[in-house]
């Protein structure tokens, strides 16, 4: 619970730090990208702090590169 509160506090701090100048310059697309990134960060943070079972982020590299790596190593055996 405290972890989630901490994440929200960090996000609010980032918004207070960056958003006013973006709003002042009327950078709408920039504000969208900024919010989407923060949302991704919030999602990841909550998932980690609730100890959800997430697959390790490097798993997709194994999935994609396993055939190539095995072929390459087999060639050099």
């Amino acid at each position: 619970m405290w972890a989630i509160a901490g994440i929200i506090a960090v996000i609010i701090a980032i918004i207070m730090f960056e958003a006013p100048s973006l709003r002042r310059k009327q950078l709408r697309k920039e504000l969208w990208v900024f919010s989407i990134l923060l949302l991704i960060g919030f999602g990841l943070g909550v998932a980690i702090s609730l100890h959800m079972k997430l697959p390790p982020a490097l798993d997709w590299i194994i999935v994609i590169y396993k055939p190539l790596t095995d072929a390459l190593i087999g060639l050099l055996k």
Binding site: I14, I48, A57, I62, Y65
Partner: protein, 366 residues
């Protein structure tokens, strides 16, 4: 312009040296040593021989559009949508790489230097200066590299000199006892980690002020970095022996503990930790900076600095999520990561060059 800074060619060379040494100074010796045993240093020599043509290929691509970064000329060469898609893949590679390196640095800290500190605390501290470096921009970052570089070289020379008395030539024999194949297997990672990862410089080339001298200084930097790595790997085998090098995750740190000069200079392994902090800091920061700059250029944003804090937060969390434990991490990094590096440092440049050549030919026929 998103980035107004300009760097000189000498600064470029320094940055290339630091980034090619990068994390490799700490982790590289063990990866080829697992395959090639006492011939790991030959693996790194072959790695340099494979790496320099890759680096040359990168400079050819960098010359296509001297004023633009790779993310920008992706769209010119491949068309808007395909270009944007490839750019996003490239940027996610940079971001993952930054996260993996951040994880590597904090793993090293909690296993060797500060075992009781939570990994999050180390990550947050390190991320703080990374975000700061990326916000200040390329020019400031490079000048910092220039200031730290003499210290880096001094510590490196001290490290090598102090260890020479411990070297034993018997550890390196027999040379090529098991044939050349294990040596080549070991050279894959030795080519990827220092040299293929220099692909990030495709984001830096437009900001170098003497375009015609980029190739020379880029190759020079990679060559010098490679020589340092050959020296470190050879020294670690001479001092520790192939078996210990292959068993350790951080052989050069282990080797630094062996420094002992006249019962006076003992336990100076922090020298190696400082060398490595300097080089990995610039590596992570340049990757992270290139990611933010590239994202702003892909999405046609007018600034990139506001992206650094939110993406820094994601980077921090991703570095925790990269791998459940250090064994898994090392397995993936030593086996599969080199091919990921080659995808972006060989396949992407070849694709760009091929499509560029086809477009030119097609235009002339019309």
């Amino acid at each position: 312009m998103l980035e107004n800074g300009k760097i000189g060619v000498r600064q470029l060379t320094i940055l290339v040296i630091l980034i090619s040494i990068g994390d490799a100074i700490l982790v590289l010796p063990s990866i080829p040593a697992i395959e090639a045993k006492q011939d790991a240093w030959i693996s790194v020599v072959i790695g340099l021989a494979i790496g320099l043509p890759i680096v040359y290929l990168l400079t050819i691509v960098g010359k296509l559009y001297p004023g633009l970064t790779v993310v920008e000329y992706n769209e010119k060469i491949l068309g808007t949508w395909l270009g944007k898609a490839i750019s996003l893949f490239f940027l996610s590679y940079l971001f993952f790489s930054a996260a993996a390196h951040l994880r590597e640095s904090s793993d090293f800290m909690i296993t060797n230097i500060m075992p009781e500190t939570p990994i999050m605390a180390i990550n947050i501290l390190f991320l703080g200066i990374i975000v700061m470096g990326a916000r200040l921009g390329l020019e400031t970052l490079t000048r910092t590299a220039e200031i730290l570089f003499p210290w880096f070289i001094l510590l490196l020379l001290m490290f090598i000199l102090f260890l020479i008395p411990q070297a034993d030539i018997k550890n390196m024999l027999p040379v090529l006892g098991e044939g050349i194949k294990p040596v080549i297997r070991g050279s894959i990672a030795s080519a990827a980690f220092p040299f293929a990862e220099l692909v990030v410089f495709l984001m830096v080339f437009p900001y170098v002020n003497q375009t015609n001298r980029i190739r020379r200084s880029f190759l020079l930097g990679a060559l010098l970095g490679g020589i340092v790595l050959i020296a470190i790997v050879a020294l670690s085998i001479l001092v520790l022996g192939a078996d210990l090098v292959a068993r350790n995750i951080y052989p050069s740190f282990f080797m630094a503990k062996k420094i002992s000069i006249g019962n006076f200079l003992e336990r100076v392994e922090a020298i190696l930790a400082i060398i490595w902090f300097i080089s990995i800091y610039f590596k992570i920061t340049l990757y992270y900076y290139a990611f933010n700059l590239g994202l702003a250029q892909t999405l046609k944003l007018r600034e990139y600095r506001f992206l650094t804090l939110p993406s820094g937060m994601i980077l921090l969390l991703l570095s925790l999520m990269v791998a459940p434990n250090i064994t898994y991490y090392n397995e993936v990094i030593s086996k599969y990561w080199p091919n990921l590096d080659f995808t972006y440092s060989i396949l992407l440049p070849l694709l760009l060059l091929g499509v560029y050549a086809l477009r030119k030919k097609f235009k002339r026929n019309m």
